[in-house]
């Protein structure tokens, strides 16, 4: 536990140029967006760039054999952290590709017999967009709503399954609100009805315990850069008992049991494997540490600022994630006021499409509160000092912006904001 906590990416807080005691590098609190590679992962990867650079599919010489060994070791490490057999793990370029393959690959294989899929409105865009793509091809898709706490209603799921349903796709942990779905119960429902269960576990692997057999999961997407591994690599678990069949999206030399052709990027595979191995060992202690940091942060914020709301369930949640709405203060404006912190927001002003977060809307969060939201993600290299600094900084910025806010003024005067006829635009 001590080695990980000491391994900060920006050890001392260097004094700013003007001697004003402000750190030079901003503090990274956006661990759901991506994570830095753990230095131990980079160390594991390096030999495979210039020394052991062989193609793992070269059968006839040592360069090939060494690369193949490394890839197969990585495969075992990935299988281990999710409770799978190594023959059930194939490498992809990332969770987006894994999700595409899971949905489209499975749908195309079974399309003559079944044509109905079920997913959830809060899924990542790569799942929702793949589902929409399948709808254009003639498949039918049901998009289940979620409750206010962000969790899927299991009764609704049961009622949505028909005898034409081939696949249910529910993400393990949500990237915006960190909410964890009841995977074992969903798996039980699906298995009993003869429906395949896919879960996008990009945010969950290495953070919460997962067991594909116990949870009756048939397909699982894994992302390297969400668990301190490199970007550009992921994996898809494809169950063998019961056997899941799928049609490859990427065809060629037939690598990965014909499911995903292409030369495997040995260093990246090694990196993903190493990241999983580290996570498997350190998950328990790390989760506890993150929960402690998160609770410390949230308690301090709640104590010093009124009108702050949590989006999504607090208990069924990734330990390092918070999604908070700071009423009467818009998210992008707030982020500009906390330049030394790296976070993200569900405000419309931060999206290219000018639409507020669809995940927050799905929770029933009113639009004006969606615009005031910040997503804060703590991670392996976050320190207590980072957390305390973040609290000071955010409290200061929120107070300053509330002084600027006509809505805060109205609320203080007791005006019912909902009663006003807004001009809108």
């Amino acid at each position: 536990m001590s080695t990980v906590a000491n391994r900060t990416m920006t050890p001392e807080r260097p004094i700013g140029e003007k001697g004003d005691n402000r750190p030079k590098m901003p503090i990274y609190l956006d661990y759901q967006a991506t994570t830095p590679c753990d230095p131990r992962v980079v160390e594991a990867m390096l030999p495979y760039f210039t020394e052991k650079f062989g193609n793992p599919h070269s059968r006839n010489h040592q360069y090939g054999w060494e690369a193949e060994d490394a890839v197969e070791t990585a495969r075992k490490q990935i299988a281990s952290i999710i409770g799978a057999d190594e023959r059930e793990v194939i490498f992809t370029s990332g969770a987006t590709e894994s999700n595409n393959l899971a949905l489209k690959g499975v749908a195309h294989f079974y399309k003559d017999r079944k044509n109905h899929l079920i997913t959830v409105v809060t899924e990542h865009k790569c799942v929702l967009d793949s589902a929409r793509h399948l709808e254009e091809e003639g498949f039918e898709v049901a998009y289940l709503p979620v409750r206010q706490d962000g969790l899927v209603d299991l009764e609704r799921l049961k009622n949505a399954i028909t005898d034409k349903t081939l696949l249910v796709s529910v993400m393990a942990a949500n990237n915006e609100i960190g909410v964890i779905q009841p995977l074992a119960q969903i798996g039980e429902i699906c298995r009993s009805r003869g429906v395949l269960f896919h879960t996008d576990a990009a945010q969950a692997v290495g953070k919460i315990p997962l067991d594909v057999k116990a949870m009756k999961i048939d397909l699982m997407s894994i992302s390297g850069h969400k668990i301190y591994g490199p970007k550009g690599i992921g994996a898809l678990y494809v169950g063998r008992k019961p056997r899941v069949r799928l049609q490859a999206l990427i065809t060629g030399g037939g690598q990965e049991r014909g499911m995903r052709s292409g030369t495997l990027p040995t260093p990246l595979c090694v990196g993903l494997g190493a990241a999983c191995a580290i996570a498997e060992k350190e998950m328990g202690a790390e989760a506890e540490r993150l929960r402690m940091l998160r609770d410390r942060f949230y308690a301090a914020i709640k104590q010093r600022l009124p009108e702050v709301f949590l989006n999504g369930d607090l208990e069924q949640r990734l330990p390092g994630n918070l999604n908070l709405s700071f009423a009467y203060v818009e998210g992008e404006g707030l982020m500009m006021g906390i330049k030394d912190l790296c976070v993200s927001s569900g405000s419309a002003c931060t999206s290219a499409s000018l639409e507020p977060s669809y995940v927050l809307r799905a929770l029933g969060v009113e639009e004006e509160l969606a615009h005031t939201s910040l997503r804060i993600g703590f991670g392996r290299f976050t320190t207590e000092q980072d957390v305390d600094y973040a609290v000071e900084h955010i409290v200061g910025a929120v107070n300053r912006l509330r002084e600027l806010s006509p809505l805060w003024e109205m609320a203080q005067e007791g005006v019912d904001i909902k009663s006003i006829q807004w001009t809108g635009h």
Partner: protein, 137 residues
Amino acid sequence: MAYSEKLLEHYENPRNVGSLDKNADDVGTGLVGAPACGDVMKLQIRVNEQGVIEDAKFKTFGCGSAIASSSLATEWIKGKSLDEAEQIKNSQIAQHLALPPVKIHCSILAEDAIKAAVADYRAKHAKKDESASQAAQ
């Protein structure tokens, strides 16, 4: 988003933040936008006997571009007549702050806020003139 220095300056040091008494005779208040859209601007003007804007105050719920646009608006309208203030175009605001295309609507809202404040002031005085002329009859 990479904002211009002028925009950042307005965000860090907004001009004329505050409120005037909306019930006062010489004050016009404009309230535009909607919380559901993530953009609300309140802009107020104090107008003297000669019809010149002596003071202006604003409060904004919105992103950095919205705050900067409304801050700039209050700066520009001080010392102008009501007619002159109404001539201010959103494109001038957008150009001065170098707003990125996706943020142009913030400058439009600022222009609307100015016009709304002026219209409110005029409406108050139209009523006064009306009741004054009625009393005179």
